[in-house]
Amino acid sequence: MIKVKLFATLREGRANEIDFEFFPGINGRFILEKLGIPEKQVSIFLVNGRDYSLDEPISDGDVIAIFPPVGGG
């Protein structure tokens, strides 16, 4: 199982957290496509708190956090 957490505007029309069945080779690009999130809306894509490219394979049990472009301070 892979847990995907969405934040800020990406929550609009979607759940805050979504679980994905693991399969070998699953990656960020697949998850974004399934969630209907255009790549350009994604600014930060974290796997277990580390920056990942969308093509890197994800492991079973990983936690993913996806953010649109945001800032603050």
């Binding site: 957490k5 934040f7 800020a8 505007t9 929550r11 805050n16 600014s43 930060i44 974290l46 277990n48 708190g49 580390r50 920056d51 956090a65 953010f67 649109p68 472009p69 945001v70 800032g71 603050g72 301070g73």
Partner: protein
């Protein structure tokens, strides 16, 4: 002079004399205005070794050349003085409307000298400037003070004031303006209190003249377009406010919990910007000429509609005190605004007291009579202690000295999460190496807005840097610090830098002031300002050994979460940083550097 009002208001509180002077145009050219120019005045006019509460310290309230113009976010003013918290140079920056009004009244800067023999306030209506008796205002909270002065001077008048905390010389007291905007950090409110000045009222009708009106119109329109089209300043900040960072920082495992004992919490979303927008948010608030509107207005449980907490406050009272309750956090924030307290330092000092209690340094019998617990996680405690600090009551009197002096009094200074005695903000530097370097070297102490490297290391603006790497970070820290000095000095909000770059600031400055800065010369002015502040600190006795971080952050790895196992590698970064700055290996600016910069 275009952009500048060209005048300084110098008020001698001892002799009750008011003088209007010409702004030193030569210094303005070198130090821009605002933070830079006021630092130059302070450097030249006071002995950096002065006791911050002595009448010999001066309090400078300054605008920048772009303050009060049509430039987006051009409403900033700064309070520059020697800090009673850090004993270093202080420059606290605020938005709202007061700065623009002061400029419209015809002044770039107010210099308060000496100390009044009894409480006074200062009323400025264009050329009419009076020192007035403030006996009826002394002791009053910020909102009531502001209301009373607005009743007298009309709703157009803008009010800057201290609360009871500043009067009582609380070392973490803020200067407040427009009810709930704060020049928050470094205890500048206590310096104003030490001078017996309760408030300043400004009402102006003069406006600001610019070099080329059509050009300003065009340049401003193009920059507003950039800000509005940028996803951060055009969408994220307006929709969620700065607390949008709660989840981002937490998911990276650098969200300090329980006085930096941990750096991740599964409860963060309870206090996030997303949750605030869905629950207590009633509307947004924009400062003078701001197209971003990151300010929040919230409704408390008791029905009061008040200025809402921003990210740093949500953290300092929230995760840092383990209180995951937006109502309690907003209430604590409200009392900070009323008493005139810095929300970062106040929340962080309460968190430090909670750790002192947790570890047995503070015992139950000491706080029994206060009737407030010091347990992490108690929502009533964050509100209760805030008021006690504002009043200097009970243990609140010791906490009013800030976390460093509090922890030191219990023989545990290592539990103060501060640099140069200024409480650290909401990012654990162990998981953001460059940002930690900025904490260690910032001229006003442990501060995030003297070079916001979170922008590059977490948010990827202007480009993504590996947050765990030390590579190139010394260079980045210098550029961010110098650019920030420029933005502050212009009188613009730092948040514009999520969208704008150096070239944009050059365009705005030149259009308004008719100057001929280039990217190179404007950034060099930032570097000059940074070095001048450094010189002030060195003369004040803040030696480079204070360019450090709390031991916990250098020696103890983060215990859990996404950044588990890392420490801050300051000793790897600092020598390189000194070299990049043109300072010697001990951290003193080299003669040739000062000569090159003409400091």
């Amino acid at each position: 002079m275009y952009g500048y009002a060209g005048k300084i208001l110098r008020i001698d509180l001892i002799n009750q004399s008011i003088k209007v002077e010409d702004l030193n145009a030569e210094w303005a050219k070198k130090y821009i205005g605002g933070r830079g120019l006021a630092s130059k005045y302070l450097f030249e006019e006071i002995d950096p070794k002065v006791d911050p509460f002595s009448p010999d310290n001066k309090l400078i309230i300054t605008t920048g050349p772009l303050t009060g113009t049509s430039v987006p976010t051009g409403g900033r003013y700064m309070v520059v003085t020697k800090s009673p918290l850090t004993e270093a140079i202080a420059c606290s920056n605020s938005g709202g409307f007061f700065g623009a009004e002061l400029k419209a009244a015809g002044y770039d800067m107010i210099i308060l000298e000496g100390k009044a023999s009894k409480p006074v306030y200062i009323a400025i209506e264009d050329d009419k400037v009076e020192i007035k008796d403030a006996a009826h205002l002394w002791g009053k909270l910020v909102y009531e003070t502001t209301d009373l002065l607005k009743q007298k001077y009309g709703n157009k008048a803008k009010v800057l004031a201290i609360g009871p905390a500043g009067e009582k010389l609380v070392r973490i007291a803020a200067v407040m303006n427009d009810y709930d905007r704060a020049a928050g950090r470094s205890g500048v409110g206590a310096v104003m209190g030490s001078k017996n000045v309760k408030a300043i009222v400004a009402k102006g009708s003069k406006g600001v003249s610019v070099a080329d009106e059509q050009k300003v119109k065009d340049v401003v329109a193009s920059k507003i377009k950039i800000i509005r089209e940028n996803p951060v300043t055009g969408e994220g900040l307006p929709a969620y406010g700065t607390a949008i960072l709660v989840n981002i920082i937490n998911e990276h495992g650098i969200f300090p919990v329980a006085n930096f004992q941990r750096a991740y919490t599964p409860e963060a979303d309870k206090i996030s910007g997303e949750t605030m927008a869905k629950t207590i948010l009633t509307k947004k608030h924009a400062c003078f000429r701001c197209p971003i509107a990151c300010g929040r207005v919230v409704r408390l449980k008791d029905g009061k509609e008040v200025g809402g907490p921003e990210y740093e406050t949500v953290w300092s009272y929230g995760a840092n005190c383990e209180v995951y309750d937006l109502n309690a956090i907003s209430e604590a924030n409200y009392w900070c605004n009323q008493y005139g307290l810095d929300t970062i330092s106040t929340g962080a000092t309460i968190a430090a007291a909670m750790e002192l209690y947790q570890r047995g340094y503070i015992k139950d019998d000491e706080i029994d009579k206060d009737g407030i617990s010091l347990k992490f996680g108690d929502p009533e405690a964050i509100v209760g202690w805030t008021i006690k600090i504002g009043k200097r009551e009970g243990l609140g009197d010791k906490m009013a000295e800030g976390s460093y002096r509090l922890c030191e009094a219990y023989g545990a200074p290592h539990l103060s999460m501060s640099v140069k005695k200024l409480e650290l903000p909401a990012y654990d530097p162990r998981g953001v190496q460059g940002h930690g370097l900025v904490y260690a070297t910032a001229n006003r102490g442990g501060c995030h807005v003297r070079g916001y490297l979170i922008s590059a290391e977490i948010l990827g603006i202007p480009q993504k840097l590996d947050r765990f790497s030390t590579e190139g970070k010394a260079e980045w820290a210098k550029i961010f610090q110098d650019l920030t000095a420029v933005i502050d000095s212009l009188g613009m909000c730092l948040f514009t830098s999520f969208a704008l770059g150096l070239k944009d600031y050059v365009d705005l400055m030149n259009a308004v002031c008719g100057t001929d800065y280039t990217e190179e010369t404007l950034l060099a002015a930032g570097e000059k300002i940074y070095n001048l502040e450094r010189l002030f600190n060195l003369k004040a006795g803040i030696d480079p050994s204070q360019d450090t971080l709390p031991k916990r952050l250098i020696e103890e790895p983060i215990s859990e979460g996404p950044s588990k196992g890392v420490v801050h590698k300051l000793s790897d970064l600092l020598p390189k940083y000194y070299e990049v700055r043109g300072w010697d290996e001990k951290g003193y600016p080299k003669e040739e550097t000062l000569k090159r910069l003409e400091v």
